[in-house]
Point group: C2
Chain length 144, copies 2
């Protein structure tokens, strides 16, 4: 199959397929006499695997590593487990940060009623006030 069909069947853009090849996530396929890429079922399976990992928001470097490990059946899989664990930790940290952010933004939104003018906008005032309080990372005494 050619690149267009492969891309369609995996639900990705043609450009993305070529990008993954350049990045070493997809093996370079055989070429037709006219230079078109010719893919087999294994390429589709691989591409779907990569996309599934991406849907879990794994970095391309991590996926590349998992693919390399997957080729060595008899090696211990600790690294795969650690990789997933580390990724989960990052996702969790980011989710928690976004939760805090969401609360801050909700509080900010509550500062201004509609029908105000800029001069009396509670949101703007709060933004300015909060920025003054912040200063820099060294606001705690004895900060390093």
């Amino acid at each position: 199959m050619r690149i267009g069909e492969l891309a369609r069947r995996a639900g990705v853009d043609v450009q993305t397929v070529r990008y993954y090849e350049r990045e070493g996530l997809l093996d370079a396929p055989a070429r037709t006499p006219s230079g078109y890429r010719a893919y087999g079922p294994a390429h589709l399976e691989r591409l779907r695997f990569v996309r599934h990992c991406r849907s879990l928001d794994m970095a391309l470097a991590d996926i590349r590593r998992v693919l390399a490990l997957a080729r060595e059946a008899s090696v211990a899989c600790d690294e795969v487990n650690q990789l997933v664990e580390a990724h989960l930790a990052r996702v969790r940290a980011r989710r928690q940060a976004l939760e805090r952010l969401e609360q801050q933004l909700e509080a900010l939104r509550a500062q201004c009623a509609s029908g105000q003018r800029i001069a009396g906008c509670g949101i703007l005032q709060e933004l300015i006030h909060a920025a003054q309080g912040e200063a820099c990372a060294c606001h705690v005494e004895g900060a390093r």
Copy 2:
């Protein structure tokens, strides 16, 4: 004050200050005879404002817009409110997506006990299996 002091007092990198100037978030300051940027207290206040907005993860374009609006005291502030509202909606959506992702990753992690080899790694098997099920965006019959 020179750029180093400004940056230190706002808790940012010197490069970032120059970047904000290029991006129109910070007014270009006066220069000393030798070409050094010379900042006043207003610049520091502005920089802290920008950094506070960034700490709320607002995009630079949004911050630029808020700054432009802030100069016109008598204009209605609806746009500021909408901007914060839209940003909150994005943050909320992203947080929810990360929550789902976190659950998926927790389920994935539970698939493999330690001490396995690649060939028997539950995580890898689950990744491969899930990728096969996924196929493309058109797996529902009659999908557009």
